[in-house]
Amino acid sequence: MSNKIVPSIYRAVIDDVIDAIRPEFEEFGVSADLVRKLQDKWEMKILASRVADFPVEPPPPQPTYPYPALPHATHNVPAYVPPSAAQQRLKSGGIDARYALATAQYAFPPLPGPTLPAQNKNTSAPVTAAVYTLPQTDGPSVSEDDDDLEPVSVPTRIGQLSGAPVGKGELAAGEGLSKDAEQIGSDLDDDSDDSENDAEEGEEAQSEIDMVFCTYDKVARVKNKWKCVLKDGMIHAGGKDYLFQRCTGEFEW
């Protein structure tokens, strides 16, 4: 149940935050378009993360969508149709980590929808247009552009670290890190602990570690039995988000 309420909660949070920061943005002299842009980016990323099934919103009034017949075979995508050839917003099954743009296709559960391609093949524009929820923001997200962008952006950042035109980002990053470690001795201990933990987690769980963010009311232990009372939490497990108001935990150490 708490996964089903997640979209509405997130919608409330987004609206709350956007409304609250709008005057801040105006104070800073930033245009209102930027608020809209931030909101769109934020929503797209949330959709891309697929942490819940987000509802379908009324379609944007753009009936002239060229529908490619089927999604591209290069991506491991179920039979969803991208909105337009120019804006290739295909969502892969997590194998291809190209989260660049998301589509409203998340309204449908991750099962192949047999009716969907059939509809798309017919020119039922309003029906299929209903698939797409959020107004699509920009960006011809042609895959080649993405590939070009990534190597371009990395050297510029690394250039700032090492100051030398190093072609390989990893080397420069390593140099930057070691320089910092030498300068600040106290951080070295923290880094070593963190790196050990990260190495453990990296080896054992290549996928995300499931997390719970919350507050605690009570944590108690009797011998090796731990009991805790947690409040107002967000669970991220199995790639999905869940929310709770109260949670009891029972663990054995």
């Binding site: 149940m1 708490s2 309420i5 909660i9 997130y10 409330a12 949070v13 709350d16 935050v17 609250a20 801040e24 943005f25 800073f28 930033v30 930027l34 842009k37 931030l38 980016k41 934020w42 990323k45 949330i46 993360s49 942490v51 054992e204 769980a205 570690i209 997390m211 719970v212 963010f213 919350c214 507050t215 605690y216 009311d217 009570k218 944590v219 232990r221 731990w226 805790c228 947690l230 107002d232 939490g233 967000m234 669970i235 991220h236 497990a237 199995g238 999905k240 988000d241 869940y242 929310l243 709770f244 108001q245 109260r246 949670c247 009891t248 935990g249 029972e250 663990f251 054995e252 150490w253």
Partner: protein, 118 residues
């Protein structure tokens, strides 16, 4: 309503999405880092209040406690083979990390618990 707003929700999916979106705008130069900080602070407040106000679900977690840590009133647990029951959904997780800050009511009570086990 919590009087202290914690920043750890920024590590959640919503929070990371907002942080990434803000980072993109900062890189473009359309948003100053200062403004982005204000947005994130507002996010902390909004998310905490919304969860307190709108979420009523109860959950239960069981599993094997692998490590525990209490530092600066923040408990961090690593649970192995966790089973999480939320409302009528059950999720199993091989490794679950719980980060819990002291709740508002508890902060005033000043409860102390042994952090070390011998």
């Amino acid at each position: 309503m919590a009087s202290v707003y914690y920043e750890f929700y920024r590590g959640s999916s919503v929070g990371m999405a907002l942080t990434d979106a803000l980072d993109e705008l900062i890189t473009e130069g359309t948003v100053t880092p200062q403004l982005a900080m204000k947005v994130l602070q507002q996010f902390d407040v909004s998310l905490a209040n919304t969860i307190v106000r709108d979420v009523k679900a109860k959950a239960k977690v069981k599993g094997q406690l692998r490590t525990y840590r209490l530092c600066d009133d923040v408990w961090t647990f690593m649970i192995k083979d966790a089973t999480v029951a939320v409302e009528n959904e059950v999720i199993k997780s091989p490794r679950l990390k719980i980060v819990a800050c002291k709740s508002g009511e508890l902060a005033t009570a000043g409860a102390h618990l042994p952090a070390e086990k011998h």
